[in-house]
C-alpha cells in the first residue's frame, strides 16, 4: 500500500476481503464523498439523512465484501448498493415519493424572479432536479456528476442502455426548457460583471 494511486478498486476490495483496514480506508477516501453527494441529491438535499445513508452503504460494503466479485467493477457495485439502499428507503415511504412514476409534470410556477444570478440558477436547478422522478434523477446524477458510462448506469439501474439514453435525452430536454430563461439571464449577468471588471 505504498502508492495507493496505482492500486485499483478491485485490488483494494480483494485486500479488504482478507480484512485489510488500510484498503478499506483508501476505498473510503475515494468514494465516501461521491456516495454522500449521490445520496444528498437523491434525498432531496437532506444532508443529515445522506450522511446516515452513506454510513449504511459503507457498512454494507464491509458486510458484503466477500460477495464482491473482484473481476467486476467496484464503482458499479458500490453505486448499485447505494442506489438499492435509496430505492428501498423510497419504497418504504411510498406515500412521500413515487419511484415508478415517469411523470415529470412541473407544478412550480415558471415566473421569473428579479435577481438572476448564479445562485438563482443553482436554486432553480435544484428545484428542477428534485422535481424529476426517482429514475430520471438517478440517471441524471450518475451521468452528469459521477461521469459514469451509459453501460455502467444501465448496470446499476438494472435496465437496458437504450432506456438510459432516452432518460438522459428526456432530462436534458426538460432542464433545457425549464432553465433556458435562467441560463440566458445568468449569461447576460456574467457579461455585465465581466464588462464591469474591464471598466474597473
Amino acid at each position: 500500500m505504498t502508492n495507493s494511486n496505482y492500486i485499483t478498486d478491485e485490488q483494494l476490495m480483494s485486500s479488504l476481503q482478507k480484512g485489510d483496514e488500510s484498503a478499506f480506508t483508501i476505498l473510503y477516501e475515494r468514494y465516501s464523498n461521491r456516495i454522500l453527494y449521490f445520496m444528498f441529491k437523491m434525498l432531496r438535499n437532506d444532508e443529515a439523512k445522506a450522511q446516515d445513508f452513506t454510513q449504511d452503504v459503507f457498512m454494507k460494503v464491509i458486510e458484503k465484501a466477500d460477495q464482491f466479485d473482484t473481476n467486476k467493477s467496484f464503482k458499479t457495485w458500490i453505486f448499485t448498493v447505494a442506489a438499492n439502499h435509496c430505492k428501498n428507503y423510497f419504497r418504504s415511504n411510498k406515500q412521500l415519493f413515487d419511484i415508478d412514476s415517469s411523470n415529470n409534470s412541473l407544478v412550480y410556477d415558471d415566473s421569473i424572479e428579479e435577481n438572476y444570478d448564479q445562485k438563482e440558477f443553482k436554486r432553480r436547478l435544484d428545484i428542477e432536479v428534485n422535481k424529476l422522478s426517482y429514475k430520471f434523477k438517478e440517471t441524471f446524477i450518475l451521468r452528469y456528476f459521477e461521469d459514469l458510462k451509459l453501460k455502467e448506469i444501465a448496470e446499476i439501474m438494472d435496465c437496458p442502455v437504450g432506456t438510459i439514453k432516452s432518460r438522459l435525452n428526456h432530462v436534458t430536454q426538460i432542464l433545457a426548457k425549464k432553465l433556458k430563461v435562467y441560463k440566458v439571464l445568468f449569461d447576460s449577468s456574467q457579461v455585465i460583471e465581466k464588462t464591469k471588471e474591464y471598466e474597473d
Binding site: G19, E21, Y37, E47, F58, L125
Partner: protein, 231 residues
C-alpha cells in the same frame, strides 16, 4: 447515433466540432439547440461539482465503519478458531492418567471370555464340534400337536341342612309378583322385569344373573323355579 449525439453535446460546443460532426449534428438537431444543451450540461456539471465540494462525509462514518470491520474480523477469527477446535477437540481432550489406566483395565477385564460368556468352560474348547463346515440337521415339524390334559376342575357337591331361623320369611314368588308374562300357547316368557327379581337376590345386573357362579343353582332359586316351571 443518439449516443454519439449525446456524447458530442456533453463534450464539445458546436464550434469545436469537426465538419463531419457538425453535419451529423445538423442532421439531428439545430445548432442553437445543440449549443443550448451543451451549455446547460456543462453548467449543470459545474454546479453539481461545486455543490459536491461543499459536502464532506463525517469522520464518524469512517470510524464506525472501521469498528464494524474490526468486529467482523474478530467474529471471523473466533469462528475459525472454533472450527479448528471442533476438528482437533476429540484428540486434544485430556484426561488424568489414573482415569486412562482404569479405562484400559476395565476394557481388558470386560473383554475376557469369563465376562462375555458366564458358562464358559475351558474343557469345552477341546471338544470336537464338527468335521465339516456345514452341518445339516433334519427336524420333523408337525402341523398339529394335540396335548391332552386331565381336567383341572373338580366339582364337589356339598349338601348342608338349614336351620329354621335361616328361613327367609317372604312370600313365594309367583308369575304375577315377579311381573313375568308367559305366552300361554308356546310357554315362552314374553316380558320379565329383571329389576324386581334382582332386588330379591344378590344380583346387580342381568349379566350377573346369568353368569354368577357364587349364588344358588337355578333349580334351588325361587325365581329359577318359576322360570323352569318347577313350582
Amino acid at each position: 447515433m443518439k449516443t454519439k449525439l449525446t456524447e458530442l453535446i456533453e463534450r464539445k460546443s458546436f464550434n469545436e466540432l469537426t465538419k463531419e460532426e457538425q453535419n451529423f449534428v445538423l442532421s439531428e438537431i439545430s445548432e442553437q439547440e445543440f449549443n443550448e444543451k451543451h451549455e446547460l450540461i456543462s453548467q449543470v456539471k459545474g454546479e453539481l461539482k461545486s455543490e459536491a465540494s461543499q459536502l464532506k462525509a463525517k469522520d464518524s462514518i469512517h470510524l464506525n465503519a472501521l469498528a464494524a470491520l474490526r468486529e467482523k474480523k474478530d467474529r471471523e477469527s473466533v469462528e475459525e478458531s472454533d472450527k479448528e477446535k471442533g476438528g482437533a477437540g476429540f484428540f486434544a481432550f485430556k484426561i488424568p492418567l489414573w482415569t486412562a489406566i482404569a479405562a484400559v483395565f476395565m476394557i481388558f477385564i470386560l473383554s475376557t471370555p469369563i465376562f462375555i460368556n458366564s458358562e464358559f468352560d475351558q474343557n469345552k474348547n477341546d471338544e470336537l464340534l464338527a468335521l465339516v463346515d456345514t452341518v445339516y440337521v433334519d427336524k420333523i415339524i408337525r402341523d398339529t400337536i394335540e396335548i391332552t390334559q386331565p381336567a383341572d376342575t373338580v366339582v364337589k357337591m356339598i349338601y348342608t341342612s338349614r336351620d329354621a331361623s335361616d328361613e327367609i320369611t317372604e312370600l313365594p314368588a309367583t308369575i304375577e309378583s315377579l311381573d313375568i308374562k308367559v305366552n300361554e300357547t308356546s310357554g315362552e316368557i314374553i316380558q320379565y322385569n329383571s329389576q324386581s327379581s334382582m332386588s330379591m337376590g344378590s344380583y346387580t345386573s342381568t349379566f350377573d344373573f346369568k353368569s354368577s357362579d357364587t349364588g344358588e343353582s337355578l333349580s334351588e332359586d325361587k325365581i329359577g323355579r318359576v322360570l323352569l316351571r318347577i313350582e
